[in-house]
Symmetry: C2
Subunit: 278 residues, 2 copies
Amino acid sequence: MRIAYQGVTGAYSEAAALRLNASADLMSCLSFEDVFAAVGKRKATHGILPIENTIGGTIHRNYDLLLEHEFPIVGEIKLAVVHHLIVNRGTTLEQIKRVYSHPQGLAQCERFLRRLKGVEIVATYDTAGSAKMIKEEQLMDSAAIASERAAHNFGLQVLQSGVQDHAHNMTRFLIVAQEETPLGPPDKTTIVFRLSNEAGALFKALSVFALRDIDLTKLESRPIPDRPFEYLFYADLSANPEEFRCARALMHLAEFAPSLKTLGSYPAWKEPELPAAS
Amino acid sequence: MRIAYQGVTGAYSEAAALRLNASADLMSCLSFEDVFAAVGKRKATHGILPIENTIGGTIHRNYDLLLEHEFPIVGEIKLAVVHHLIVNRGTTLEQIKRVYSHPQGLAQCERFLRRLKGVEIVATYDTAGSAKMIKEEQLMDSAAIASERAAHNFGLQVLQSGVQDHAHNMTRFLIVAQEETPLGPPDKTTIVFRLSNEAGALFKALSVFALRDIDLTKLESRPIPDRPFEYLFYADLSANPEEFRCARALMHLAEFAPSLKTLGSYPAWKEPELPAAS
């Protein structure tokens, strides 16, 4: 298993990939597009992509890319995100003039950052990449917000731990692959559909699942270019499409949805059980 | 009427404010937060905020801020967005090494930008602000993506017009105010509600509207911090809450939604009719 992820070593996507498979071979990519390209060109067997964070919300761009590239979703993983304020050795809190991180990282530490007076907040493409940069450029008046692993990897110092605003900060990642082989028995399905622009259309779409007791765990809409104010809906269903009721629900939706596509069927993430205390 | 908007002169928010009321007094703000603050401190009577773009999607941050600040929505406006590649006089396409704009502006011109080989794309806080910067710093190897108005205001040159990827590029803006006085007879209502985490909850919520023939023109979800993987739903209803069926629908929803709030009732935007050709 060779997993492509966006970011440099120390990125949360890398941590998620290692949590999925500690012995996997990892491949760092510059952008989400590059993760898809790595899978497409068979440089990686799998790609891992953040899809939503419990504070920052959905990473909508990745829904767009999932549809564009048509690789099946074969798994998901949830990872607790703990942000740290990271500096070059010797830099004190008072010396910090600038804080670098990815916009989602910055958004998740908003209250903490607001308390740092007179500090400029700079958005970058990457949490761990920000740590790498302050190291490489030996910036003694700057800090990065990134993982503890990023601090260790780049020989930086954690000045303050757990600087995120909310204790429960989790990111859910999707795993895509070239081959449609789920990473376990599938009990979750992601679909995308378009509805005709008429009153009650979404209600009708949800009814095909609700009336069959199929739970919808997430619903997200995205605009359709060149169809102003019409939307594509991405939905997560707690079901396997091979189940009779799910297969029938999808057929039912296809009766009136102008487009419907299954993006993948995969095992919903279950936290590994902790070994019992002895 | 004094309208606060985010950006510098030439920003699309400014154009939207002027389209709403050509004789309004305008107030430039650094951030969306500052727009709310301007209304809160009575420095402006109204604030204008982009809420969704037909290519880039929803500006989710503004939903969060709407809920946080509790100013009523009193109107909306839709504006066609036309992006231009803007440079200092004398700069040619071949000389451009860097293109600056707001991430949404960049996303809307993605295909165009991809064709510019060897050019670095730099995300900034502002479309018009990027134009201002290349002027002030006299950057002869850089371009901004912004409005024609921004080019004129800063004495810059439009090198290429209409560089957005899609012809139909519209942004919808919301107008907030201190006073709950809609800008016309209200026929649209925005609500936000939370649902208990149980199967079929969203279907049940939509049914209170669908069964009363109330159209839902938009549904958006946002995460709830400290309630991992639970969501707040923002919905636009084609109805006035003073209508009997809408009032009853909201009462019905409140029976089972742990929280429900009306963010405002206002006139849905109608394109002004063009004067007949003579």
